[in-house]
């Protein structure tokens, strides 16, 4: 008797675990409100009528934007929630959509994650509200991330053209001149690390988004998407160019292995042990807030190139979309338009140090001429604006890029960890992506 009772307890305990892992109900296809219904006039009507919307975002300016919007339209209440950044937020949104309730009306979604949401019908097509006409308000690189065919699934918020940020104090101390090509960059990395084994020119412990952007700069097109047909080629010319430079750095242990965005990492950025970063236009404000010790030491310069021809890429950047579960799509759309398409909304973004996506903001003379104390009075935006003009066109992300990012460490990350050739890792990543994509109903071909 006692035995069976314990056995039952054991079985129950084990099964509770099973149940918890499966407690996300739903199962069927995502919400169905994603129709291009409505008209531009609906937006005005919705604003007049007022109401309440929930807004999930993590960018520093998000709360200020919600407040400013409430001030402008007092009969609208915006419940701002920071539900975590990136994949943490997406997980919560996806769960809420599966559960049928609890999703926000408006959410911040990175460009890399837009396709996975709109392909699953989780975002409202805003073209019915006349958002298709807003195309010319944005730089093409950002617009292409929110639009698919005639449909518009959100409006771009910030953008992330890449540049090189470097610690001038460390460069001067070790007699390193600012590298303009990747060969010079490699040489500088070797020189710095040889001079002091605690010093690294840059850090990269393996990051799928970073690797993608580096391949982008090298002119590669490893991901090609046409509807549900996907081609993956992580051995294309651009990838080969990038690994040609990066393998050397990985194998000679010249990259700080400290994982990005951790306390260790910020500490090394602040004290100069990591002397340079190749990163997106959002990095200056992050440096300023997370590595304040480095103030006055840092400078921005164009990203090094392969052959002297200026080239950059995009790294990061977000949009706001209307989640299909919303009960008030017109009001949600009106909010998205106000925060991302009016001078007032975009100004709040700029005040927080983010790099906007609207043509109007980027071409304003005062934007280019703004100086930064953290960057020793340099006009950092000029460097970034030049970078934005040299982003190679035609780049595409996978319709399951967030998942690709999660499993990057399982394959390519292992090459980083063992300081070996990245190519076998990239091939393994590709294999996993091809089989995942096919399981998800895409037609994926690996080259």
């Amino acid at each position: 008797m006692k035995r069976t009772r314990i056995a039952a307890a054991v079985l129950t305990a084990a099964l509770i675990g099973t149940g918890l892992a499966a407690c996300s109900p739903g199962g069927g296809a995502g919400g169905g409100a994603a129709a291009g219904s409505g008209s531009p006039a609906d937006l005005e009507a919705a604003l007049e009528k007022g109401g309440e919307i929930t807004y999930w975002a993590w960018a520093p300016a998000s709360e200020a934007k919600a407040k400013a919007f409430e001030e402008k339209y007092p009969n609208v209440t915006v419940n701002y929630v920071n539900a975590g950044s990136g994949v943490d937020e997406y997980t919560k949104i996806t769960n809420a959509i599966k559960a049928g309730t609890g999703a926000p009306d408006v959410a911040q979604i990175e460009y890399t994650a837009m396709p996975q949401f709109y392909l699953a019908d989780n975002l409202v097509d805003l073209s019915g509200y006349g958002f298709g006409d807003l195309e010319d308000d944005y730089i093409p690189g950002s617009w292409s991330a929110v639009a698919s065919g005639d449909k518009v699934f959100g409006l771009p918020e910030d953008s992330g053209p890449m540049a090189m940020f470097y610690n001038k104090r460390v460069f001067d101390q070790y007699g390193i001149s600012v590298p303009t090509t990747w060969d010079e960059f490699s040489a500088a990395a070797e020189k710095l690390h040889a001079a002091d084994p605690n010093q690294y020119l840059t850090s990269d412990g393996g990051d799928g988004y970073f690797a993608s952007s580096m391949i982008w700069q090298a002119g590669g097109h490893p991901f090609q998407v046409d509807g549900t047909d996907v081609t993956i080629d992580l051995q294309d010319e651009g990838t080969a160019k990038w690994t040609g430079v990066w393998n050397d750095l990985v194998e000679k242990k010249l990259l700080s292995p400290t994982p990005s965005y951790t306390d260790d990492w910020y500490k090394q950025l602040g004290n100069g042990q990591i002397a340079a970063l190749i990163s997106g236009a959002w990095m200056p404000s992050l440096l300023e807030s997370a590595a304040p010790e480095g103030s006055g030491d840092w400078q921005a310069a164009p990203m090094p190139t392969y052959d002297g021809t200026a080239a950059s890429a995009n790294f990061g950047g977000s949009a706001q979309g209307v989640i299909s579960q919303t009960k008030n799509p017109a009001l949600a759309a009106a909010f998205v338009q106000w925060i991302n398409d009016t001078p007032e909304g975009v100004q709040i973004l700029q005040d927080s140090g983010s790099f906007p996506s609207t043509v109007a903001a980027l071409t304003a003379p005062e934007f280019a001429e703004a100086t930064s104390d953290y960057f020793g009075g340099q006009q950092v935006n000029k460097v970034l604006l030049a970078a934005a003009d040299t982003v190679p066109e035609g780049w595409q992300y996978l319709p399951f890029q967030t998942y690709a990012q999660t499993i990057f460490a399982d394959s390519v990350g292992q090459a980083y960890a063992s300081n070996s050739d990245l190519n076998p890792g990239l091939m393994k990543w590709q294999e996993s992506l091809v089989s995942y994509g096919n399981e998800q109903g895409f037609t994926v071909t690996g080259k």
């Binding site: 084990a14 892992a21 399951f400």
Partner: protein
């Protein structure tokens, strides 16, 4: 003919059945409702989910046992199972031996302030698991943390708790710290139930401290040992919080398939493969139940002897 015999033989048995007292149900029903909603429904739903495959393109379709076939041949899954099995084999005995020694020491009556030590050892269990892992993350940080300071004091990277080679050991260390006090309390409670007369008799017979431990205390602890072992085994197989929280600071050492639970989580929440995730969870639940049951059988057999 045979039919009549059968029904004829059954008939006399009927009056012997006890009448059903319907008022009993009123007492059981609240529990049954809770049981059905909180335990049966999720499990049934998980089983239901595991029979489908929901695709980003093409929606949901019934696939029968295809997910199970995939799980049984999925190297990522079995590698994770192997990892938590290895973790269990090493971590559980270390932790339980530590808890046992602590409980015996506190029970020995030779410590000056046993209550203080009891609280001290139990304290880590009161720290929420998430906070505990964050604390240990700071300690393990090769540059920022305590380990970083020790390494720089020694002038070399001696301790590398977050490398692929060591990270499982580092997680085991956290688990021991977290749960040793909890198990100690269970052991200690079992020891307190031993009647004092037994000790007096033992000391009259000339038994020393170790003889008392072997002949009185350890036999008294058998039941507690079985329970703590089963709980620890279940805990090992459900390893999730520690690796998930350490992943940001050790991204390459902790893969997305590091433990079966982490794998199930990543499948469901970043891969949107809810169905396959449910399958993995069910298979893992069954494995855990079988192993825990085997341990429990062995444990009670000893008890009967």
């Amino acid at each position: 003919m045979a039919v009549t015999v059968a029904s004829g033989s059954k008939a006399p048995a009927r009056p012997r059945r006890r009448p059903v007292i319907s008022s009993g149900w009123a007492f059981v029903i609240p529990f049954l409702i809770f049981f059905a909603i909180a335990i049966l429904a999720p499990v049934v739903y998980a089983i239901y989910l595991s029979l489908f495959r929901d695709q980003l393109v093409g929606g949901s379709s019934f696939v029968g046992l295809a997910n199970y076939a995939q799980a049984l041949t999925d190297p990522d899954f079995w590698f994770g199972v192997g990892r938590v099995f290895g973790f269990m084999i090493i971590q559980v005995p270390i932790m339980l031996v530590f808890s046992l020694i602590a409980a015996l020491a506190i029970d020995s009556g030779r410590l000056r302030a046993p209550g203080f030590y009891r609280i001290l050892l139990f304290l880590p269990y009161a720290v929420p698991g998430v906070v505990a892992v964050l604390i240990w993350g700071f300690i393990y940080g090769p540059r920022f943390g305590l380990v970083g300071s020790i390494n720089s004091f020694l002038g070399a990277q001696i301790f590398t708790p977050l490398t692929p080679e060591w990270v499982l050991g580092s997680i085991a260390n956290i688990a021991v710290w977290e749960f040793a006090g909890y198990n100690m309390v269970i052991f200690y409670a079992a020891l307190r139930t031993v009647p004092n007369e037994l000790y007096e008799a033992a000391s009259l017979d000339g038994a020393g401290a170790f003889r008392t431990i072997l002949s009185i205390k350890l036999p008294a602890l058998r039941g507690a040992l079985v329970i703590t072992t089963i709980f620890s085994i279940i805990g090992s197989f459900q390893l999730f919080n520690e690796p998930n929280l350490l992943k940001p600071i050790a991204p390459n050492a902790i893969t997305s398939t590091f433990t079966p639970n982490l794998y199930a989580y990543n499948l469901a929440f970043t891969g949107q493969q809810y169905n396959y995730s449910a399958t993995i969870a069910i298979v893992m639940g069954l494995i855990t139940a079988v192993i825990a049951y085997v341990v429990q059988l062995r444990g009670t057999r000893k008890e009967l002897r």
